[in-house]
Subunit: 687 residues, 2 copies
């Protein structure tokens, strides 16, 4: 039972063997603005200590303690060792000029300089925030060397390209436990993301305690909400990691959960129930009632006190207008105020809400749809539509954030997110002054198909590549380098308790019925969930929020890195670049696939959850057999018969179609093998 | 790269294929006192609900909510579903006669009856505690069937054999984070253990906040201690799971950490520092000073309020007397009081301490050494020496607990712990009345070589077998059944967040240097740490408490279940009982081993942590090669040449010796293969 994972160490060793004598540079992600490798390395042993010179405060102290704690986890050095000292002989000396703002703010200085030599390391920053960023770089540099844990000698001068580097997590559609969110804050800090955008209410759930309007959470959350104490604790946790928390209360649409307890807010007659289906639904707040604004004034006032950040997100997206059109009073209001369409009505609503947000000391953020000539210049536009919206906003004098291209729920490969740049397309043509209005971007983890159990695997490691896009210089774009570094960083993120690499194993065990899931793991490692919104398109019944997320599609990771490694092997073969050892690897993987269906067979009768995987599993075995046959032809140096080739290629066309809502993403590589065996374009190395 | 794990599903499928049509009974551990299988099964789907009839209280409600939460995790059914209802149509109806005691007490009724049919389940118990136990049985019964999650129809009438079923965790030697202890409470509840014995102070650390004597934790813990708020929260967490918390403050020995802040308590001149070495050390409290008893009165009074349980453990073990002998005042005191030896002096100390413990409303517990004719009859003796101590105590009218034979730190195989019965040997000869004095036993997790990262793997799954010994009828002793059930239960324990199955993977990744650790995993899966106290005996320098626990020995599990599976295959072969499919499995495993050293090779130059494993890895490859050669001879039906056999056997003698302080535990099975190939005792099935 060969596991596909095997390819990783082998490839690594093939690559690294050429540079065995060169100083090893561990992966950094994001890549620093400037970096020079030096000679030598700093040993990290139990006597390692940190001195804080210059400015000192409790937050800086906690940041260093957190750093030491992570260093202990990474090395296994016990909790008794690794200390903060006053000694001038400390291995790492931190010099911080000023405190950061008590509450992290947009645009604060995050720059730092890190110099490591074999005799010690120095980290200089003008603020606590810069120290935090530099300490994360230091942690990424730590690796296991031949003589101990070491950091290579290096000189780094680093600062971010964009000031707003966010991750949106939607807890409205599915509640995500607070400890899961916390470990994701740790992951964010590790890759220098600095804004956690908490999409905290939606049609399907109102997830925060309001003391003023308790029916919001009592009737709108199924009992699944965060208390204000939890929220305060979470904000403090984020602050200690240099992360801002921006709450989003989506309005006037995406708001059914508000109406379960407070139907007076809605444009329809009610009563309302928590929504269980997905999509753009009809319920919307009534923008014509003064009651609505009075309520929002009370509610936003309460939340503005709870969330210290200067920015306050009001959503504002996807109002379909059906409830407005169906309500005669609203129609009358529009006529009376000379509004030509629902966009005008929403603009009116936004203006009123902006006044409330502003009255409570906050700056409003909203999605593309809020952009309207009447919108105050202070507002920030978050674009799910693209750089065109950002350019439009910038020309109107408004600041913007890019999220189009960064939707993690679409199950795109990392490379596709990585290629998206906030300053490209329409934004590239902005004047230098206008470009300053582009603050950065946010990866978005929409919540239709995530729960605490699998959300990490949707966010990581892909969000690390988006973090790099937003932090590193624009010219850092090498996709192969990105993947190589991302895989290394992904492993290091495990130390933070993130489950993106490990969490699917118990899910697979559940699917096979509480036995060893190795055979299913071999299959799931080379599949990916269907892309974009195909999960809904392919569903026999419309998915709901109460549907258990315990299928193979829920365990499968968005991007199969084993499939990527396999395709590299096939590409090398087709290009005639196979190195010694690669062909046996290729063969072993194909053999494993060919036999895998037999290994899985016993489970199909035992567990209802695995049944849907039957033909998918057969397909993988077919791919294995076809690939082996193609290898045989290549090996013998004789072209595969045309009839066989065309039969195989048409079988692969079928295999490429989704089965059980997942894609067997190694099919195109096997197709390449077959095509190569027909044309004999590839050369196998001499035996 | 074949993984040895492969054997598990294959064996399972070989076994289960014979009984495919029979109602599947999931593993129960501990085995109930009485159980009858019925026909049919109860479906667990999102509409599953629980009704509570009879007695109701907040703790019972929380127990059911906890049960539903575990059921959601196990099935992946979302948090919105599975509910407590008032409906008479609930799938599970709980009928509870009385509340349990507010604070769990020794000897409370834990019995329950559980009846499951295809139309519903009924759980009856006279107390909340019985309901808790029954709900855990229900959770173990849930499995993935062909048509959904199901519970087989069954009638169970269950109650424990012993009232005190404990797990000792030593946090004195290494601090264990509170969240790690909490998940272990969940594990305990799952297998019906009901006493968490918190060994909270020792030479190397004083791990609890005292408000009266704050220098205890401030100077005696390296900052690694539990606050009183944490302790209260932990006790409440345990109570909600029907678990008592018994604190142990070891005295007069094992107490250096007290003396760092309060040297006046000690018998030596001081000053004292936190100990970093292991063993029986000299420092001991001064039993001759009134100051000592005044201090203990204050301290025990404070702790007696914090810990609600009636029992209070004072340790009392391993006083070597050296500080007493070296102190002229203590010598003088002994003479003046006519004490003939240090045992008399300690008996005096114990009597004084017992008065204090008793004054604060508690019953004293201590290790064997406290047994002395002067000891009050209320005291409880915990025996690390054996059933003889229990018998002696019982004859003296004292109650006892067995821990001899249950020391998890000795790295014994489960079967050895499982064979130990509190009522065997000397205890078997007690009169029925005297036997009542044997309250039960405790598994002991001593802390020299455990930290938060690896402690779960030392406790689980072996503690589940000890739990069965203490709960199930004495005649439940089938070792094969135990192993089969334990493996299934072990997987289910993963849902509680326990890391005994998964936690070693990041440790292995650290050892190989943050890359894929598959090859090292193949090796570590067939090794075990050296047994008993050999780790110290084999160490070149004496181990200390600050030594990082990041070596292979720290990642290796105490008992290799893959090695057990391999030996089953070999035994089947040698006995001529190989079933079809087994021989290829055997061959595949041996091939994997033979190649594994080549796979590991690249890492030896890259990571200092893996270097010590080099010859161990070579040995595994040698075993693989030798086993394959033996298989060849068996296959060909010709006896292996005597010279080859004797050469291989002497190589295996070497291979059996510890390397890097671990044992290659598959060596004896390969030896069997070689011996079989020499004698041709085994028959391979026809091809």
């Amino acid at each position: 039972m060969r596991t596909i994972f095997l390819i990783v160490p082998v490839l690594t060793s093939l690559i690294s063997s050429c540079s065995a004598q060169v100083q090893r540079m561990p992966a950094l992600m994001p890549v620093p603005a400037h970096m020079e490798a030096r000679t030598g390395e700093l040993l990290i042993d139990p006597s390692f200590s940190v001195a804080i010179t210059g400015h000192k405060d409790a937050r800086l102290q906690r940041a260093v303690e957190l750093f030491l704690d992570h260093l202990r986890r990474q090395t296994g050095i016990t909790a008794v060792d690794l200390r903060i000292t006053d000694s001038s002989k400390a291995a790492l000396t931190i010099s911080c000029e000023n405190a950061s703002k008590d509450i992290p703010e947009l645009g604060e200085d995050e720059s730092y300089k890190l110099d490591v030599s074999s005799s010690g390391a120095k980290l200089n920053a003008s603020t606590t925030l810069g120290v935090m960023r530099g300490l994360q770089t230091f942690l990424q540099l730590v690796h296991t060397g031949p003589s101990g844990f070491v950091v290579p000698a290096v000189s780094i001068d680093d600062k971010p390209r964009f000031a707003w580097r966010g991750l949106l997590v939607d807890v409205g559609r599915h509640y995500i436990p607070i400890e899961v969110l916390k470990r994701n804050l740790d992951g964010m800090a590790a890759v220098k993301l600095n804004v956690f955008h908490w999409h905290i209410s939606d049609y399907q759930g109102f997830r925060i305690e309001s003391k003023k309007f308790p029916k919001l959470q009592e009737m709108g959350s199924d009992g699944l909400f965060y208390t204000q104490d939890e929220v305060r604790d979470f904000i403090a946790y984020a602050r200690d990691r240099g992360i801002r928390i921006v709450p989003e209360f989506d309005m006037p649409g995406h708001s059914t959960s508000w109406f379960v307890g407070y139907p007076e807010l809605a444009s329809g007659p009610g009563p309302y129930q928590i929504e269980r289906t997905w999509g753009v639904l009809n319920p919307a707040m009534d923008p014509t009632k003064e009651y609505t604004y009075k309520f929002l004034d009370g509610f936003i006032g309460e939340m503005a006190k709870l969330f210290p950040d200067r920015f306050f997100h009001i959503g504002g997206d996807e109002v379909n207008g059906k409830e407005w059109d169906a309500n005669p009073k609203i129609q009358e209001f529009k006529r009376a105020h000379g509004m030509k369409d629902n966009a005008d009505l929403q603009a009116y609503f936004n203006k009123r809400v902006e006044q409330i947000v502003s009255k409570h000391g906050k700056t409003m953020v909203g999605w593309d749809e809020i952009l309207h000539p009447d919108l105050p210049k202070s507002a920030v536009i978050q674009s799910w539509r693209g750089q065109e919206s950002l350019a439009q906003a910038a020309k109107q004098g408004l600041r913007g954030l890019l999220s189009s291209g960064y939707y993690l729920d679409l199950m795109w490969p990392t490379s596709r997110h990585y290629a998206v740049d906030p300053m490209s397309d329409a934004a590239a043509n902005l004047s230098p002054e206008e470009q300053k209005a582009v603050l950065g971007g946010e990866a978005c983890m929409w919540g239709e198909y995530v729960v605490g159990e699998n959300i990490d695997s949707r966010i990581w490691p892909r969000a690390a590549a988006i973090a790099e896009r937003l932090w590193s210089p624009q010219e850092v774009r090498d996709v192969n380098s990105m993947y190589q570094r991302m895989e290394e960083i992904s492993q290091k993120l495990d130390w933070l308790g993130l489950t993106h690499n490990s969490g699917y194993v118990p899910m697979l065990r559940r699917i096979v019925g509480n036995v060893d899931p190795s055979a299913l793991k071999a299959l799931v490692d080379v599949v990916e969930p269907v892309k974009e919104y195909n999960r809904e398109d392919l569903a026999s019944t419309p998915p709901t929020s109460t549907m258990p997320l315990n299928r193979l599609i829920d365990a499968a990771r968005p991007e199969s890195l084993p499939a990527r490694h396999f395709s590299e092997l096939v590409d090398a073969l087709v290009a005639g670049n196979l190195k010694p050892g690669m062909e046996p690897q290729l063969r072993a993987v194909l053999e494993k696939w060919r036999e895998n269906h037999t290994d899985l067979q016993p489970f199909f009768e035992q567990s209802f959850l695995i049944k849907e995987v039957d033909s998918l599993s057969q397909n993988l075995s077919a791919l294995g057999a076809a690939g082996l046959a193609a290898l045989e032809y290549l090996d013998r140096g004789e072209p595969a018969p045309a009839a066989w080739v065309s039969q195989q290629l048409s079988a692969i066309d079928q295999i490429k179609k989704p089965q059980a809502q997942v894609l067997l993403v190694v099919a195109p590589s096997v197709q390449k093998l077959i095509e190569a065996s027909a044309g004999q374009t590839a050369a196998l190395p001499a035996k």
